[in-house]
């Protein structure tokens, strides 16, 4: 592994951390506390993120509904996840917590609604 530079996000110090590999072991430098080391190792070995976005809604009082992954997914799958979601339209009504896609891309994470969108009645 070549060396990687990170900025720690745990506190406002924002330590510049360098991670290198030595004989199969990760070496973390530049951190000023333990939390920095743990963060760096998880970032290097398995970076994960919550993905949030909006989907179009049919017949809703709003044109979109905001959604999130119910848990973090691997960082490298973010764009794949977005691509998959771009093809999806939801029918109103939608309630907070509704599962819109189950187990997206076999990540174990569901796509859930993060807001309510009521049905729009034709006048």
């Amino acid at each position: 592994m070549e060396k990687k530079n990170l900025i720690c996000i745990n506190c406002p110090m924002g330590c510049r951390i360098e991670v290198t590999e030595e004989g199969g072991k990760l070496k973390v430098t530049g951190n000023s506390c333990k939390r920095g080391e743990l963060y760096a190792i998880s970032e290097i070995t398995n970076p994960v993120r919550i993905v949030t976005t909006s989907l179009f809604v049919n017949d809703g009082v709003h044109p979109t509904v905001s959604v999130k992954t119910s848990r973090e997914i691997p960082k490298k799958m973010i764009f794949k996840c977005m691509e998959k979601l771009s093809a999806i339209t939801v029918d109103a009504p939608v309630k907070i917590g509704d599962v819109i896609v189950k187990d997206i891309l076999n990540t174990g994470a569901d796509i859930v609604a993060t807001r309510n969108v009521d049905l729009r009645f034709a006048i």
Binding site: I7, I9, I50, T52, S54, I78, I96, T114
Partner: protein, 417 residues
Amino acid sequence: MHRDLVIIGGGPAGLAAAIKAREEGIDDILVIERDIELGGILKQCIHNGFGLHIFGEQLTGPEYAQKFIDKLLELGIEYKCDTMVLNITDNKKVTAVNTKDGVIEIQAKAIILSMGCRERPRGALNIPGSRPAGIFTAGTAQRFVNMEGYKIGEKIVILGSGDIGLIMARRLTLEGSQVKMVLEIMPYSSGLKRNIMQCLDDFGIPLLLNHTVVKIHGKERVGGVTIAKVDANRKPIPETFRYVECDTLLLSVGLIPENELSKNAGIVLDKVTGGPRVNESMETSVEGIFACGNVVQVHDLVDNVTKESYLAGLGAAKYIKGTAGNGGREIETYGRNGVRYVVPQKIRLDDMGDEVNLFLRVDNIYKDVYLSVSDGGKTIYKVKKRIVAPGEMESVRLKKDSILNMENDKLFVELIR
């Protein structure tokens, strides 16, 4: 129409204040919101990271807002959406308008101002160039993309590294736009580290510190911008001028408390925060008019908005019930030596609880300093800070006992190196 309490603005500040006032026994409350729904700016902040302090979990903006909306409904608090407050007077008469009721006049016993803040637009920056389409404030872009479902541009340059700009850099990238760079005129970003990492570094978007936009090009639509490095006095250096092709420019250059209504009522504003000067109960200079949230000072964490708003709700409830103290000894707070401002600006010893929370912002990045509170001579509180930055609000909790024996009626909050 008469009401005990009128709350102007149904964002997180107004909602929390309403809930607290009801819990304190005020029944006759009306929340007025100009948008078609409650929740304020949170409705467009669809990313997660809200409520870590209050709920211990990472909620998205709409989820955080809904918790308070549900509570408001459960308590049966009356609200009017799609209704704009046009004016308030110092004797607490509120004028509002909507399409159903027309113009409404409400005589309130107490008012809580919770109108939030607004973004500094292009006009506040004086960037030369033409007036093409494709220039947005970051918050407007956020609403268009997250709530209305529009794509706002293909090639985007962001000016200003405030949190909303950083978050939009990620959002637009995910939506398939190319965010070319984020420019920041200061030598440091005003955004949170977390956002720089997860919104820029994750996607390889460069952050150019000490840089600004000196010209906007394009007639119908933005065609590009000229950017430049700035010197120590923030003056653009001509040798560094560079043209960057783009069709969209996003501005994320700061927020200003929304205070037109406050001005009309003759409320005294603080020159630094831009919001009303308030006391320990979040009461403004006009008796019975309280304020909370971004209308008082621009917060970076909504949890702090909620806490501050509970104070305002409590203060208004006491005022209406006539159980507020008589003020007693009054202490003014001042920021100096690196501390730009302190909220509240006034503490009345008879009305404060067992302790008071002072919020403050510093004027630069400082490492290894002491944050100190003194009466000019005696130090009342001192804490070591490894780092303080303008982008992160600091707070100090003072016990009543510690200020009772102050020699002066002035409290100085400052940095000591």
